[in-house]
Symmetry: C6
Subunit: 215 residues, 6 copies
């Protein structure tokens, strides 16, 4: 089983890079960042269960939290998306809460959360203000090897409404992640501290910390 | 006759995929979604008659409601378009009414309803506010294998007016679908419940439920 | 002579398609639509005389009204354009007056009326508000086989002024067509009724009805 | 000398087309249109002297007024441009004054006057409001055989200012042409009347009419 | 030395064209235009010294004023740019002061002054309002043999601020040139008068006039 | 070691150009510019230590200040970026403080500071106002050998917000650099004076001046 998981991770994130030189300060930031993802995801009801948390860098990622659904989802609901967005922002929020400073480490999370929020508004009609319709023609154009994925077919006024709804969705998710991590700050510290010690937690170890079981 | 219908459906939606694994929760959502389409379409006078409803997935679709006109329409009227739009939104509205949450399952419906509303305003002059004229040059350009279908030839102010009229048309259709399904909530439940049991309803079975005939 | 006219029509609109299946309801709509064109065109002084009206479909057209000028026009005047625009909208207006609903059958008329109104404002300086000047560079670019006919060289504020003038011109034409058909509703009915009966009227038959001569 | 002039005109405007069928009504419009150009040009001090006026069509032109400078101009001044613009609009203004209707015959004049006014504002810094600067990069791009002559490098606010100045310049020129032709309406009528009679006037014949010499 | 200078000028501006036919009126305008450049440049402290003034046309230029720096400048300062801009506008200002009319002769000066003002604001951060930053990505794209030099990466609001700052810089330079030439109108007249007589002034002759030494 | 450093600098900035002719005035400006960078960078806590300052030109640079981090940074924080931006602006600020005039010498610094501020807002979610999201699709398109790095996917209103935040970040950095150099004006003068004397300072010499140790 472990071999199988290693194979999957290698495909998703590239080979482990234990040799990468990371300062103690950065190791701490990464640990809190990943712990932030994990604590939010395990707290909100519609997020997938956390399978593994690690601060061993792999490919481009300095650490990561692996969450897999219990079964395939053919349909995604608005409530599920809202929980997932909060989970994606858990890393950035943890940095802000613990260090009062934020880093470039969240940039990939921010891209994903922005992309999801835009899809909710523009493809899935999940904004009450903008209504049950789509925005932008999504037919793709393969032009010299790249896909230009959208043709804007709406006015500047609608573009502004879309931007406001997207920002609203993301701010709401940020505040939910902030609420979770503020209320569970001790858990956040416990998970991060353990990560700094042993670098990788599996789901059992993580669950034990969340239940308050001493290591 | 049945063979013939199977052949048509295979062409339109791809082969049946009975083997697809769908959770009970998703099956319920899909059933209410399709029942929503069917109940609205059968209630509004200018929609085509419902021929079949199914929650057996076929190609990309998780389920579908087949409605065919009694004879060819060479002309489409504004009133007919208004009923059709409400029918297209019946699935999304049913999800909202029954579960208080909405899913990605409606995204194709939303694209179609948006496309139709834009055509009403921009190609068919069916908006009173914007008047009996067209907007955007529709000549097509085949550029590296893709059609860029419209050249914007109007101002931002008109683009905003178009967007407002389109939203208005869609909101109105949404509210009509909502009114139908709220008033006929028992029918909606009956159709969906039966769909969960036997997965596919033909027009007779569907009509019987709508008439209140016990199964 | 008749053979010659058939040849011309075949070139302009394609072969007759008597076999096309059209419902009684649609036949009635088409008859009123074409009668609307013909009654407006024959009433306004600067429109060309009506030569033939038919509801036999030909090529893409479900019916058409043929009007030919008495002699070549090298110059077109603003007043002539105003009458022509009202004539183009006669079909749509007749539908609205007679059925209280409107159809996609007018879409080609709407394109033509929009195109003419835009040319009046942008190429011929026929809008008092925008003045004796042109808008947009009309040099053409043959790009991969298609002409992109205009390069916008004016501000958004002017684009809005152009749109308002175009809408104004079209609304004015609509109202003139409406006035003509409301005042001559009995003629409209007489022409449409006769069209439903015999499908095609030549100029003599049409003129007779307009003069109130019994068939 | 006459042969030489014929050669020049053939190059500029194409061969004469005496055979073109023109209605009496159109002939009158064309005569007043050309007389309008000629009377304005000969009245305003900085226009070039009128050499010939004709209503015999040549190439695409239905008539034309030939004015040639007395010597080469290496520099063009703002005042000279202002007079020239009024001259270009003389044809349109004459139509409006005499017939109360305007035609497509002025479209080429409108293009030229618009182009000149835009150059005054954007290339020659001749607008007090916009100041002694240029707008738009004029480097040219030969792209598939066509020159795209300008790259907009200014804001929408400046684009609007440019449009307003251009419109102002053209309106001013229109009003000056209107003033000239209203004050000299009898000359306008005399020139046009003579043109209808003999179709072409040389500079002596034209000057004689302007001096009030009986034909 | 003279041969060397001739060689340089030939490279910069093309061969002399003594034979070009210029009217007396135009010669006077050109003389005042060049005298305007020279008087402003020699008055403002940070302009380069005037080496030669001529109204003999060379290549495309009808006349020119040659100013060369005393030594190479690796750095250009805001104050130096401000003086140079006033010098560039000296020709246009002289025309306005002396003739109350302006000509196309300044169009190249206007392009240069506009280009410099835009660079000050967008590349060198020399506008207090817009601050110590750059605007627009300047990486160049060689596309079918032409450089498209800028990609706009800022909002319309900033584009408007840039335009206002550019106009402000140019208006200020215009007013400084106007102040210089109004105060030194007699010098302007003396230089222009001498230019009309002998067509070319070297730096000694020019300096002598500026010092009030009789010719 | 020195050979190694020379090799690095040669690669980064090109060969030394001792022979370049620089006026005394420009030498002074360059010295204060580089001293400005160095004093700000050594004062703010999160800047990298200054290794070398020189006014010997190398490649395109007229002088430079070399600062290298003590160890690799895998994560960059908002506070570190804020200090670095102030350091980048130290040269421009020193010019303004000492000479009351500013030069083109800062243009490369301005580009870098602008680029960093835009990334903070658009890629790293480091603006509180705009929130924890990204703006613009960063997928790159290699088009005829050049990367067009961003596709704008937001409204004009957001573009304006981004511009305001970027300007805010840069103004704040400018003010911090100004505060440092005003408070340490004597150090700035001492470093620049020494640079003019011996042209290059290593870290020990620089530190000694900053500590007030006499040369």
């Amino acid at each position: 089983m472990e071999e199988f998981q290693e194979a999957i991770e290698r495909v998703i994130a590239g080979p482990e890079r234990k040799s990468r030189l990371i300062s103690e300060e950065e190791k701490e930031i990464i640990a809190y960042h990943e712990a932030g993802h994990a604590v939010v995801q395990t707290t909100l009801p519609k997020c997938d269960p956390v399978r593994k948390i690690t601060i061993v860098s792999r490919g481009m990622a300095l650490g990561y939290t692996m969450a897999l659904p219990e079964d395939d989802h053919l349909l995604q609901s608005r409530n599920r998306f809202r929980d997932q967005m909060a989970g994606m922002l858990g890393g950035r929020v943890a940095e802000q809460i613990m260090f009062g400073d934020i880093t470039t480490g969240a940039s990939n999370d921010l891209e994903r959360v922005t992309d999801l929020a835009r899809k909710m508004v523009k493809r899935y009609g999940m904004s009450e203000k903008l209504g049950a319709m789509t925005f932008g023609q999504k037919e793709e154009l393969i032009f010299l090897g790249r896909e230009i994925s959208e043709q804007r077919d709406y006015s500047e006024a609608v573009a502004r409404d879309i931007d406001e709804e997207v920002r609203e969705l993301i701010n709401e998710a940020y505040e939910r992640a902030e609420k979770v991590l503020t209320e569970q700050r001790d858990k956040l510290v416990a998970v991060a501290t353990r990560l700094i010690e042993i670098e990788t937690l599996d789901s059992d170890e993580f669950e034990a910390i969340m239940q308050g079981v001493p290591a």
